[in-house]
Symmetry: D2
Subunit: 342 residues, 4 copies
């Protein structure tokens, strides 16, 4: 059994990591830290873990973490970068579920995240943990930057088109919708059920932190800069992201075959049959991304529909997929359950 630690496990990403890790065949949860909840049994905060996780939260003590083989950071942005260098030095491998190591260019990162990066020298080493693109590099990495939820859904939906060079790099549109769990578990009037239930709105249209991350991913796939408009929206439900992606086809190919070929070997990307419309509930609680590709009305605007569970493939599940690759386990270990429907 491998010993893993979690830093900052009181949010939704933390509890989801615990839910998934508790069913993993090769992992022992050694430590979970939270300054605010130190001493509190994890199962007192998250009743679903009663009988499954016996651990209590502990103070964030780096010595305890150094005794782990691998540490997940499920902390706010800007926390991991302060502890990661010391952990890496000790030989601990790290997966950061926040954004500290996702953006290649520290200046871009500092612009969008509004702080100075504490260890820019590690950014280049960090591997962006999207296995569908970086599987081998993840396997060899000491430090993995786990992708954001929107970037995962958008990138997996756009990838086949951009890699094949068949759509225009200008005028790309990602119209995305997320359940409320994506906003985390902080006390926030704007996320009260009385505020977000039975309503729908866009947010962050002028600019959202996931925009540079998505742009970086798409540019890498295209081999050139892309022009992307990204509009996130808030859904009156808890889990799930639906990305509706638009681009202009410049070369007519069999889109269905292109997508199926691209993802034929991927354990967690499921290309639906032609004409399908994936539902977010079809991936609730599981690590799958489901995509469907359309060319409506015989036009030249391609429409890709891409769904994930924001807390699984968009966070904790993908982190475990990355851990499996880093530690040489089966890529699907701990991630084979069936989505919850209804």
């Amino acid at each position: 059994m491998v010993r893993v630690g979690i830093v900052g496990g009181t949010g939704y990403t933390g509890v989801e990591l615990l839910r998934l890790l508790s069913g993993h065949p090769h992992v022992e949860l050694a430590v979970i830290t939270s300054r605010a909840e130190a001493g509190v049994p994890v199962a007192d905060l998250y009743p679903n873990l009663r009988g499954h996780v016996g651990l209590a939260f502990s103070e964030p003590d780096i010595e305890l973490l150094k005794a782990c083989d691998l540490v997940f950071f499920a902390t706010p942005n800007g926390t991991a970068m302060k502890m990661v260098p010391e952990l890496l030095e000790t030989g601990v491998r790290v997966i950061d579920l926040a954004a500290d190591f996702r953006i290649r260019d520290p200046k871009v990162w500092e612009h969008w995240y509004g702080m100075t990066h504490a260890c820019p020298e590690l950014i280049e080493e960090a591997v962006y943990g999207l296995p569908e693109v970086n599987r081998e590099a993840v396997g060899a990495a000491r430090l993995v930057a786990n992708p954001g939820c929107y970037p995962t859904a958008v990138t997996l939906g756009m990838l086949p088109l951009l890699e094949a060079g068949i759509i225009a790099c200008r005028g790309l549109i990602a119209d995305c919708k997320s359940g409320v769990s994506g906003a985390g578990r902080g006390a926030n009037v704007g996320m009260l059920m009385g505020e977000v239930g039975e309503s729908f709105k866009a947010y962050g249209v002028p600019g959202h932190r996931h925009l540079p991350e998505i742009r970086q991913n798409l540019a890498l796939a295209a081999g050139s800069d892309v022009d992307l408009t990204f509009v996130p929206h808030l859904l009156p439900m808890i889990r799930g992201i639906h990305a509706t992606l638009y681009g202009r086809i410049e070369k007519k190919v069999d889109l269905q075959a292109l997508f199926e070929a691209r993802y034929a070997e991927e354990p967690f990307v499921d290309v639906l049959p032609s004409g399908a419309h994936p539902e977010t509930r079809s991936v609730r609680a599981v690590n799958d991304c489901r995509v469907a590709v359309h060319l409506p009305q015989g036009g030249d605007t391609v429409v890709v529909l891409s769904v994930i569970d924001n807390l699984v493939k968009g966070a904790a599940g993908q982190a475990i997929q990355n851990m499996n690759l880093m530690l040489g386990f089966e890529e699907t270990d701990g991630l084979r359950s069936v989505a919850l429907l209804p």
Copy 2:
């Protein structure tokens, strides 16, 4: 008091017409028909109307309808066209909330609605009841085709841009999201709460009946054909439509000023301040359309956010607005209440 009738009032559009008409100062509800519910008091089917509507449903008898000044059809597509000619001859004015008279070209209509039109000769006379475009014609009309819910939200959002000729007519995108009440009240496994609650999906991507209606509206505004991709989605909530609209700016103008000027005199279109994101709940139960216009990241893709209540501005409220124009009442009569929030 003017005497109005409703044909087919058992669906959500019907009950919403009744809710709004029961507070109208100049209208007496004379008859409401339903073959299936004939004899049943309206308030037995819709408990919110107890104490407000004393009428019972009656068999659809055209003689009773002829005694009305104005008749609303809240029927499935293809019903109104069979009764309208006889009513118009008697001098009754008609507002059809279904699609029978929305599409100018009978061949296009027959293609999308899969039936032969019963009175194609009336299509030309029918006025498309979007007051923001056709106010005067509506006032003089015998027969008004009340717009669809998606077409209302999309058209009002796109109108200022197309009329001003500042966006490309190619590559327009309408990414729309609707609450479940838009699907009506028919017994349908796909609309069970167990199926659509806590989930989100697109539908009708290959083609949806509102596509030709929207295209017709936008072409009229632009003065030329437009190329539009329309993707509707189903929201896990009851009321509200949110249209997220994308186009490529070809001429830089002050977009905020353009929208404010276009709708300065409109009682039911509210242009939000620059940078705003309208919520569907802010128009719940009222006849307003709220729009906001963005040009994210200084690019050339304009993003318009447009929200309505699909049952009010998207159906029954707009029908009453049209009735007010046809009968010479104040345009806002019966439509001045405040949205329900939270």
Copy 3:
């Protein structure tokens, strides 16, 4: 026009007061205070009020309030009691939507609310604003204690049985369920949509502040002490309270006739036909209480089902009903709209 003020109008009760008052024929909203939001236009906080309420929040200045004919307190418990004496002296009439004047016995109040009462001498003068019990006294009152939401639903459901002396005063049970808006609009992890959506639970079983208020009401109706178990639950929806009430019948009477007779003259209590099950949505946004009475399986346990909108009959609507009585308006002024369904 009568000039009214609102102290503390930033919560859900405040916005609901504003929604209802904006349609009242005899009232001018003169001032609305909020220390936190002073200077902010009300419509910026509550977009449903755009175009309906032009006022901005102002600092809580008692001189401004003294210029009003009547002042509503929509403040946390313990605020009104500090300002009410001075207002009453000036001749301003007051309706407190919080709990400061609901409990007759100051010791009981201080026990449940955990503070010392600032003006116990006014408690006796204050009239408990349940018009179905105290209509005349409300009309003559300077100071009205607006009932709590649960107490309104429970009391109206139990009243006919207790007044008629046909049920046992021991073993009464009030199993109540409330939408989340009852918890207010404070930043609170426990009311995030991620926490309360798609879930259901009881809370406060060992003791809830509405228990002594309900007990006081029922004892007055019964003319003797009552033994009551009150269990509130939290519903995954926004508006509505459903009280399911149980008692043991000691005398067989025609229960349906008893309820219908008791409420025959009440404009806001609607006794449903025998066998009915009221839905909370049938009173959404309106001031009605709907009740149904059952005696299942021919036994001796009576079951009363009572529904209200917690923000209307359970708060702002009942406050306006009380205002109408105090100021000599029609009791239903501003309160005649139809419930929103669906």
Copy 4:
């Protein structure tokens, strides 16, 4: 591997059986029948099963079922009783998830279910599949009647009190609330999201089919007849039952200790600490029943809170628990996952 079949797997109970069985270590799904969907791959109807269940629905052919070791009936009431005798004769063991074999007295059954029983001679042999009461008998049974959802939640909550003889058998109250999945997946206007979303109501107060089943269970536990009032309500959410149970204590004992002792060895009943309020989401997707016991305000009315997932411990999960007992597997096989939260 043991071969199991499912008759009538197109409803929510069926898909839940498939979800759970697909993760069971000792079971091979051999056949699943549905007249309406014969030939359709299961994963086409239930997208969560794509990649997990390769089977297609087949015509209900009893010869195919005879080749199974055990058959689940997830059919409407009245179907299993027609096929079970022939299957039992061939040596196939049967678990009926419907109500055909739950009620001991065929006359009572025929009264509540409105049909003649096809094999009353098997009723006595059938074992009521509540392992917490009948574990050994289930292990030896050929035919198990899987309990209803409400009866499971109510019985497990009441059991310790009745077995210990410390509450009155008269005046018992079960105020129960269920998510909409309990009503199944049939096309039904009353279960549309537009009808049941954002609303709450009681139903079946005059009489519900689960009443005689609950009464039978409680009488067995008490050793005498009981007088029970059962009021079910419909929650605006998908999964979960919450039973709030009331009884009059006649003997003061340590209730917490009583419950903990009764369920100390039970793998699927979790007694929460004193003062707790279980949430339905804490058992979402898992086979646990969580209970808490209260004696509010030092009175003599005991309040038990009991939650289950109606599709798991209330249906498919309990059926698999019974199967495990019948076939000699570990009782928790296939049932060890963690509840989904948030």
